[in-house]
């Protein structure tokens, strides 16, 4: 499935909920299914800056696709990163670079998209895309 389709799927799932509490509860649930980063990659180098909670992300190229794993010490942050990774993991680096993140707004998490918000969602997206750029460069060499 492509990034666009996955994002549409996530938007569909979230559209079932009437209020923020259900959305947050679902997001917390999704956080529990986050593909966890291997403990050895939980280093300071892999921490995403700009988050009030700690977020670690690791990227690996499998065949021609990028696979992300991550973790956070805050459960809501973990839910947010789980949603992002679901959309971006197992995709070609170029597709990740080209993807937009409008769906975050559509699932009612717009407030997390503010670049000044301390959860660093914007930093997370930037980091995932940076990995994609790095691997894309590697692939095209």
């Amino acid at each position: 499935m492509g990034i666009q389709e996955i994002q549409e799927g996530i938007v569909d799932e979230f559209s079932m909920f009437d209020d923020w509490m259900q959305r947050y509860e679902y997001m917390i649930e999704l956080g529990k299914s986050l593909p966890l980063i291997d403990e050895r990659y939980k280093t300071d180098d892999n921490i995403i800056k700009g988050c009030q909670s700690k977020v670690w992300v690791h990227a690996e190229l499998k065949d021609d696709k990028l696979v992300f794993t991550a973790d956070s010490d805050a459960i809501i942050t973990k839910g947010i990163i789980a949603i992002l990774i679901r959309a971006f993991s197992n995709q070609k680096p170029q597709d990740i670079i080209d993807a937009d993140t409008q769906f975050i707004d559509e699932i009612g998490l717009k407030e997390h998209l503010s670049p000044t918000r301390a959860n660093g969602l914007v930093s997370m997206i930037k980091q995932l895309k940076l990995y994609a750029v790095a691997y894309q460069t590697q692939l095209s060499q």
Partner: protein, 404 residues
Amino acid sequence: MLDVTKIRADFPILSREVNGKPLVYLDNAATSQTPQQVIDVIVDYYSNYNANIHRGVHALSQEATDKYEQARQKIQKHFNIAQAHEVIFTSGTTHGINLVANGFTSLLKKGDELLVSAMEHHSNIVPWQMLCERTGAILRVIPMSREGELLMDAYHELLSDKTKLVFCNHISNALGTINPIEEIIDAAHQFGAVVLVDGAQAAPHIKADMQALDVDFYTVSAHKLCGPTGVGILYGKSDWLTKLPPYQGGGEMIAEVTFEKTTYADLPHKFEAGTPNICGGIAFGAALDYLNAIGLEEIAAYESELLKYATEQLLQIDGLKIYGTAARKTSVISFNIEGIHPYDIGTILDKLGIAVRTGHHCAQPIMDFYKIPGTVRASFSFYNTKEEVDTLVEAIRRAKAMLS
């Protein structure tokens, strides 16, 4: 007894909603809200006499100058400062501390010692570290207990003839501890050391008397006491302010300028380069009028009752731990719930219309001391109510249920 219903009516912001819920504003230690009386002064300034001060010959400039200087006198009176020129307008506490730290560059030498309390805000640590880098002076830390009280025996032992400067907050922003600054100041003076007290958190709760304290420098921000952001004062003893070199160069702070040499203006203008926050200064004065009309002692008594109630109620939540349990503290409660990140709690509380602070509160050394990533901090003001405490407690229970 305060008439809180009447007081709340003075604050327009308190009647707004956040996320569809009535706002419960419990981030007062970061910024207090502004009463209509102060907002009116700000509107009046820009509507009727906005002009640059001190240099103009026209009527508006004179009116603005008079109001600005009257505000300085109000501040002088409020803090029982001997002379009006010992009140330096700043952009806030951080500016005041940097002004002093910068000034001491030429007065310190390698090996001199500076003492800083373990519970300082970064703004009362970093400028001194920079000063140490410039001069070769050494920064030493006055330790604190698990309860969040300074270990005064250790302080007395740290003091020596090498000690040149001591800096400490009057009240800790992260823990609410009221520090024994009288003892800190007296002991430092025995060794000829200069003391700077960060009064940012104390000013809304305690009317500090500069002459009785005999403190050398004291800094305050208006936005912590119902005034606007971006303005504050540095109190300094005349002798010290005279000794320190100017911090910033520019207009207003000069006596005479030629390309060969510039002579500086007298106090306080020597430290007030450029066009100041005129409206902010005047509104700062109005904020003090507002607080004094209610009475800081009445405010402190009411807040202490709120603190007691909130502490009791919060401690009934399983797994809730309060950081900062000093015998003398103000209405600040820093807490965590076992197994839950403070950021998660803060996010859910926000959805429920409750404004609290989460994170390290610009006091990372305190978080390192307790080995925690941060806390949730609820800070109460005289316009908060017991009902709001109940709303907070209920919301925390809800957040806890969602997040566990």
